[in-house]
Each structure stands twice: as C-alpha cells, then as structure tokens.
C-alpha cells in the first residue's frame, strides 16, 4: 500500500489540471479511494503525471536484434548498466539491449510501450525479447498490410475470408493489433519495386491497390472491434512531396478509426531533395477536422541513430543516399525490414526540414489527444531523448534559439518560426500518456482514476524542462516504487497485452494448404503458444 500526498496532479483522463490531490494505491497495484497503513510519499511541491505510454516504438524482435548486430561501435561508446543484485547488466545507446530498455524507459517515467512492428513468423522471438524487458507493460502490433495470403483474399474480393485471416494471424502472433506498413509496397519490394500511388495496382496483382488495402484493413480492424484501430505507416515514406500520398491515404480512411504512425515522415512538400519543404500545415489541418484519426509525431532529433523499418524499399533508398551499412531482411509471405545507421545533421537541409516538421505537427495539431510524443524510436532519435522534445514543445524561446542555428536556406521551407504555442504540463501529460493510452484502448493506463493501474511518475519542479523530465524523483509501476532519486529500486516483470479476436472455425483448415505452399515451417508450430507469453493479459473480443 502506498499513499502520495500533496502533489500537483496532472491527470487529463479525469480533467485534473494541476490540482493538489492525494493518491492511494492498494496491494493489487491499483488506485483506490483510501488506504490505511503502508508508506506515504510526501510529494508537496512536486508534479505528478500518469506513467508515460509509448504508442509507437521498436524495442524487440528480429529487426531490432539485427540493428544491435550492426552497431557494435555504438555499444562501446554508450552508457552501460552495471549488474547489481536486483538488476541485470546491459547497454543503452541507439539499439539498447533488452534489460537496459526497461531501465531506460522506466527511468524516464514511461511504464507502457507498444512494439509497433512484429512479423508473425518471428513473433515467438519478439515475445521472448519482451519477456527480458523489465518493469514496463508491453503490447505488440502485427505486420499485416503485405501479407500475401491476406492480399490474395482482398484481390479476390473475399472480404469475410480476409477478415478471418487477419483475426487468425493476430491470435497466432499473440498480438494486440494490426500494423500496416507501406501497404502493397513491401510485397512489391520482394520483386525490387515499390508502391507509391494509392490507386495503381501493386506488383504481382491485377487490380489490388494500396488504397483498397488501406480501406479494407481499416474496416477489418473496426469489424473485429480491436481496442486499437489500424496503425498505419503510409506509402511513400520520407519522399519529397509525399503529402499528396498521405492526404490521399487519409481519404481512403473516411468513416474509420485509424492511427497514423510517425506523421513527420509523411508531411513533405516539394518535388525533389533540393526543393523538399514542410507540408505539415496541410496535414495538421486534416487532423484538426477529423477527430477519428490519431497520430504520433515521429519527431527527429539531431544526432546519430539507426533506422529500422518494415519499409524495405525506403531503406534501400536511404542506403543509396548515405552509402552507409545496409541491412535488409525479407520475411516470407508476410513483410520485410531494413536497417540503416543514420546521422541527422542540422546543417543538412533535408534533416533540418524533418526536425522542424515533427515539432510543427505537435504544435499545429490542436488537440494533444490526437498527436502523441514519439520519435519512432530509434528512427528519428532514441526514445531516451524524449525530454529534449518536451523542452522544445514547452519553450518557444528555446525553439527559436535552435532554429537560429539552422542554415539560412531553411527559411520558407518550414513554418516553425511562426509558431508561438507552448505546451502546458497538462498538454504534455496528454500527449505522452493519457492520449496514447486512450488511442491504444488501454483504459487502465494513462489514467490516475480509481481502479486504474497505479503507474505514475513524480517530478521535482525545475526550470530546466529537459532535466526535469529525464530525472523523475519517483517512478511507480503497479504501485511499486521502481525508481527513486535516480536509482533503480525494483525491476518487476511487466504484463503483455494481447487480444483474442473471433474468426470462423474453418479458418484453420483454410489456412493450412496456403501456409504449406509458401512457408518453410510446420503449420502446427507456427502459432505462438500462450504459455510462452510472460504475464499475458488477454482481451477476448466480442464474437469469440
């Protein structure tokens, strides 16, 4: 039992904006009305937020592990966690090791993370890695938009079948929801091509277009009543002028729920790399008039990182542009992935536009319930640098100082200099916790109300915003104090959220021959056994 008294509470889910309020936590790790006995934390003068929720990150699985193998030079120069009796050793950096990932997230006040790109074929591996990420709770999204068995059903106009196939895969992967990456484009990449236009048939199909995949998959997610809507990485990522593709994609989503991943990478104007500019005001305008759609920033921070995405063709382009290492892994029938180390430089005009665009989206989209803090870790920057973004959002003067360091040619390419908005603490709490929790359909997260999971973070108020957010005084996970005064106190195992959607019972027998045709493992060995998930929290969906 734990009581926290006297703190200034920011709990947007309950419209509490800085009021002084006591919080009580029972032995089940939930908020209750009152407790008697147990420890009391005097939080007078401190700031209390719900624990952070990362709606889109890459922390585990084949691609991340590939990135670790490609960046030994970074492991050497990064921070190292030394083993203690309660804590495993590990390395931070651009592609942190599993144990370190848990410590780094918790150390920054984040208590729930969503691993946003898991191929079913290697889901078993991903879950094993997630079990080695301590403290935080986890969810995973399954890569679906280039799954050929599903695409074949869509091409044939067999909507019900396609829906059953998706539901079957989600349960096979023990996953929480659907991720769509460059719909049709990754399948085309298997032949070395891509899909850039929403209405052109994709390679290998006569009439199936990315647009149709987007609409059908969003409908499937709605019909299956998934707690989190389709999580979409749009076609044409990173390309100058791709705003038209993004807006066209959004038109295909009218009437549906959806989450658009890392919008920063999808909000560019211009015709080529020389004329590339920010087109965030057009995209923000769309969000401001369509409350059914949420997004995360995918913000960029200057410095070294490694990019990882299921978007194979984009990574090939990045490799050609940078001439640096290139990792690519195509996964049979399902998806692909690419890995390229990358350095964002303020002196590089394209990078400068990207840096400004991420911040612009967060500032131009009016409701923080719609746009969430993310760097698409590690793509735009490492997650442990989130406090730097919060500082940029909260301090217009600091932003102006940073803009002043960009090349002169940046003028007229970005709108950031004209934006004076500053995030309030309430808005930061919404964007880093309450908003993403709601978008994920995790109602017990990002919420300090009675009955919710007692995940919270307590900051000592400081002028230096980045310092304040990177050094919480306490972090409490499920009622347990995990961080205190910068020290890791406890490293409990988190839970994993997953869904059990309903599908027609004959789907197994429908899948078997198709599976045997294109996969190279036993059909019966393919689904991840529920016993392999550490602390599963299964949500049974209606109809099953």
């Amino acid at each position: 039992m734990l009581k926290i008294t006297g703190g200034k509470v920011y709990d947007p889910a309950n419209e509490i904006n800085g009021q002084i309020k006591d919080l009580c936590i029972d032995d089940n790790g939930r908020f209750v009305e009152s407790v008697s006995g147990g420890r009391t934390i005097d939080a007078t003068g401190m700031i209390i937020f719900p624990g952070g929720v990362d709606v889109h990150t890459h922390v585990a699985g084949g691609a991340m592990n590939f990135a670790r193998a490609m960046t030994p030079e970074d492991h050497r120069r990064t921070q190292a966690f030394i083993r203690t009796q309660s804590r495993r050793s590990g390395l931070g950096g651009m592609a942190p090791t599993t144990f370190a990932t848990g410590y780094l997230y918790a150390g920054m006040g984040f208590t729930t993370v969503n691993e946003a790109a898991v191929p079913v074929l290697s889901a078993r591996h991903t879950h094993e890695e997630l079990a080695d990420i301590p403290i935080v709770d986890k969810a995973t999204l399954t890569l679906m938009a280039n799954n050929e068995i599903m695409l074949d059903q869509m091409q044939a106009g067999e909507y019900e079948r396609a829906k059953n196939v998706v539901a079957w895969y989600l349960w096979a992967a023990k996953s929480y929801g659907v991720k769509a990456v460059n719909p049709g484009g990754v399948a085309a990449w298997k032949w070395g091509s891509d899909a850039k236009q929403l209405n052109d048939p994709i390679a290998g199909y006569s009439s199936l277009t990315p647009g149709k995949i987007v609409t059908m998959l969003a409908t499937i997610c709605d019909d299956l009543q998934l707690p989190h809507p389709m999580h979409l990485h749009c076609n044409n990522l990173g390309a100058p002028g791709n705003i038209s593709t993004t807006l066209d994609t959004l038109k295909h989503l009218e009437g549906h729920r959806a989450h658009i991943a890392h919008s920063q990478y999808h909000a560019y104007g211009g015709d080529d790399w020389d004329t590339m500019c920010s087109a965030t005001s057009q995209l923000a305008e769309y969000f401001n008039t369509h409350p059914n759609i949420t997004t995360d920033a995918g913000a960029v921070l200057f410095g070294d990182t490694v990019t990882i995405t299921a978007d194979g063709p984009w990574q090939h382009l990045l490799y050609k542009l940078t001439g640096r290492k290139w990792g690519n892994l195509d996964v049979e029938n399902e998806t692909g992935c690419g890995i390229v180390p990358y350095t964002y430089r303020p002196s590089n005009l394209v990078n400068a536009v990207q840096w400004a665009s991420g911040l612009e989206l967060m500032l131009l989209i009016k409701s923080p319930w719609q746009v969430f803090l993310s760097t698409d870790h590690p793509n735009g920057g490492c997650f442990w640098r989130y406090p730097e973004i919060i500082q940029l959002l909260m301090c217009a003067d600091f932003r102006k100082e940073c803009i002043a360091k960009l090349p002169d040619k940046i003028k007229n390419r970005i709108t950031l200099p004209e934006i004076d908005r500053e995030y309030t603490l309430y808005e930061v709490a919404t964007s880093m916790s309450a908003g993403p929790a709601r978008a994920l359909g995790l109602h017990q997260k990002g919420n300090l109300g009675i009955g919710c999971d007692a995940d919270l973070v307590i900051y000592e108020e400081e002028i230096d915003i980045a310092r304040m957010f990177s050094h919480p005084r306490y972090v409490i996970k499920a009622g347990e104090i995990v961080i205190e005064d910068g020290d890791i106190r406890e490293t409990p195992h988190g839970r994993e959220f997953l869904v059990k959607p309903s599908y027609a019972p004959e789907t197994d027998e429908f899948m078997r021959p198709l599976f045997e045709d294109c996969y190279t493992m036993q059909f019966d060995n393919y689904p991840v056994e529920i016993e392999r998930i550490e602390n599963p929290d299964v949500r049974i969906l209606p109809g099953s």
């Binding site: 490609m70 030994p72 590990g90 090791t97 892994l329 996964v331 029938n333 190279t520």
Partner: protein, 321 residues
Amino acid sequence: MGGKVTCTLGEVKQRADFIVYWGGNPAECHPRHFTKYTIMQKSKFLPRGRKDRTMVLVDIRETKSAKAADIFLQVKPGKDFELITILRALIKDQHVGDEQIAETGMTRAGLDDLVHRMKSCKFGVFFFGMGLSMTRGKHMNSAALLTLAAEMNAFTKFVAMPMRGHGNVTGADVIMRWQTGYPFGITFNRGYPRYNPGEFSTVDVLVRGDCDAAFIIGADPGATMPQPAIDHLARIPTICLDPHVTHTSRLARVHITTAAQGISAPGTAYRMDELPLPLKPALKSPYPSDEEVVRRINEAIAKKPFWLPDGSQPQVVTAIG
C-alpha cells in the same frame, strides 16, 4: 557485422530463380537444403521448380554439390576475395584486366555470362558456407560477398545468407545479442558486457588460463579446442551439462546429465535465417532439461551474498573505452 541483405528461407523457396552456393557443399553438409528450400521446390512464382531455377556452385574443388549445379566455377584456393572484387567491378561495367581474371581461375567469357545471369534474374541469392567464411581472410570474404549482394540491388533483387553449422549456434548468437548487444566473445568482468573476439572468446580465455571455473552447455570443447584450452578445462572446476558422455564431460569435475533438447526436452532452436522454431519433445526423460538445471543453480546462487557489496559500484557508466 557490416551490412547484410538477406531474407528468410521461405522467400528463397518462393522466389529465388538464381541460386549461388559459394564455398559450401550443401549436397553433403545440408542435405535437405535443396529439397526443402532451394532448387527443387515448386512455388506459385516458379511453378516448374528445378526448371525455373538456375544453380551456380563456386568452390575450390568439385564436390558432390557440383553435380546438382547448372554451372560450376572452380575458383583457385585463396582467391575468393579477388573473384568477389572482380564481380563487384564487372557489374558496374568497370575495367578488369585479363590477368586479374586468370589469377582467380576464371575466364572472361565465364564471368561475363555469370554477370549477365545475375543481372537478368528476378531474385538472386548467395549462400555462403564454411569454405568462404572459414578460410584465409574469412571476415573480408563474407563482408565482400554481402556487399556484392547489396550492390546487386541496383539491378535486381539480390540477397545473401550464411550457411550456419549444426546445433543451435544461431540461437545462442541471437539471445546474446538481445541481452548484451554482442553475439559472442563477451566478458562481464567489469559488470557489464564488453566485446572482443580474439580476446574474450572462450578459446582465448581458456588458452590464456584466465578463468578459474568453466560452465559448459550445449558444446563439447574437449573434442574441438586446442590442447592448451583442454588442459586448462581439466585444471579448473569444469561443470558440464550434456545428455551424453562427451570428451568434455569426461574431464569435467561435475557432469549433470540433462534431457536432450528437441527429443525429450522442449525449447526453441533458431534456424540459420534466425527464425525461432519450437522444439516439441516426442519422448519423456527422467533427466531435467538444461533450462531447469540452470534455473535451479541460479536460484541457489541468489540466496548467497552478492559478489559486490552494495554501493561499491556505480549503477551506470558512460563513455566507456
């Protein structure tokens, strides 16, 4: 590792119409490779199976695998790197002298034909075996071939994949990477993982006599390592977990008989393309699994006082050398 452009084996089965085995002898070392994954498979994209696929073998000698190949290229021993470099030049239409080609044992016509086929296939793959990765300049050779595969993507789809040995070497590699960032050759002697193959690899540590105990699982170094390493294993307390009596178990101070993975103990094995496959035991064993033994040892150790007094070490170090 530098870059690596690869795929899972199912992609090869489905799409690869041009398959190069370089420095390997799959017919004898990976007998099911042809039938399960590569040349013999029919697929929706390659309905005629073997007829729709071209197989090339590059090796220093004509092994049994050469019979299965459409084209056999006999490279002079130790000239793999030169041959790969020549191919990297030829695909970019750069000039290569006749003399340089002859040194590798190839002819210009043969290489022109190879380059033409590489560029005109729809999906090409290099499998490289021990012959390439374990000979002189091994690291350079595989890196060069991986680069060639990456560069081929300017013309068509091309990937490369190492042919790993037997056992679950890949699995150990994968797990070490997610827990420590490094695949092997790791030391924890400062409390956090550091990597230096050649210094911290098991064999080097043993030969130098740097360790004062050894815990061996899933391997038989007593049969394969150099004598000084084996001598050191015999000198120190060595604990060996193995279902069988092995060279290592004979010299070990303690041998704990465990259930055989995949036969009588469940688990996960990682395939050469890093896909995890569940092992479902067909038999029951009276012996505990490796996992259970390690877990119980860990539990017993956890009850003992920690080796470092609390507060004697920082929790985190930065900018390490």
